[in-house]
């Protein structure tokens, strides 16, 4: 079968879509709204530190962050093609989208692991 990169990006997009749909709303509700407004008490720093020091937690964070980014990269790429009719620049757009996702993922890998 002819090798084609599209299935690879689409898998990451799909996985990212699912992960972000499942995890991100509650996370943003906590870190972005409930904690800052004091609706829910922020766990102590020590506890958070303890949590994040365990490997599975860090891997989970990495997975959520990087897959979400790939979800964005793929979707945004097609939004630019269609919404703004930039199909002619498809190479540059693809490099920009997936490139950014890869770059931030590498950075998060460095930070977390």
């Amino acid at each position: 079968m002819k090798k084609h990169s599209e299935p690879f990006w689409w898998t990451l997009f799909g996985a990212g879509g699912a992960v972000s749909a499942l995890f991100l709303p509650i996370l943003i509700f906590l870190t972005g709204i409930a904690f800052p407004l004091g609706w829910i008490e922020v766990p102590s720093y020590d506890l958070l530190q303890k949590w994040i020091s365990i490997w599975p937690a860090r891997i989970l964070v990495f997975v959520i962050v990087s897959l979400s980014l790939f979800h964005w990269a793929h979707r945004f790429r097609f939004t630019l093609y269609e919404g703004l009719q930039l199909q002619n620049y498809h190479k540059i757009i693809a490099i920009f989208c997936y490139g950014s996702a890869i770059a931030v993922s590498v950075y998060s890998f460095y930070v977390l692991i």
Partner: protein
């Protein structure tokens, strides 16, 4: 010799013509919210890793009204993302139990249930394990 044909062109803002296309573009643009928040979340976690001081400073800055407003907006986008994502799931996922096809609504409900339990688990973790 062939007679000429009229070739309609789609305008650059074609998606403003119909409510369904606007909804489509909005759905696609939620991916920006996903990316923005995943980066914020990455900073949040990395601030924990960088020490108590950094974390507290970062937490403090999140209290600014601008940040809260931004987060509210992103939350709205993310909820829209989750709902549209789960609603489309049954079309892509056809599950068969033996001879029978699982109805689409069941597949969608399974997704919603997953969303609900993950959210509840995280909430429970944060509130009940507080201080232990």
């Amino acid at each position: 010799m062939d007679s000429k044909k009229y070739k309609p062109q789609m305008g650059i803002f074609w998606w403003t013509d119909r409510w369904s296309s606007i909804k489509f573009i909005l759905r696609e643009l939620t991916s920006v919210a996903v990316a923005v928040y995943s980066i914020i979340f990455l900073f949040y976690v990395s601030s924990i890793l960088q020490g108590k001081k950094t974390f507290e400073e970062f937490s403090e800055s999140l209290k600014s009204p601008a940040f809260i407003a931004l987060h509210c907006f992103i939350l709205l986008c993310l909820v829209f993302h989750s709902i549209t994502w789960f609603n489309l799931a049954p079309q892509a996922m056809v599950i068969k139990l033996g001879e029978k096809k699982v109805p689409g609504i069941v597949v969608a409900l399974m997704n919603y249930a997953g969303w609900f339990f993950i959210s509840l688990a995280i909430l429970w973790l944060v509130t009940n394990l507080l201080g232990t």
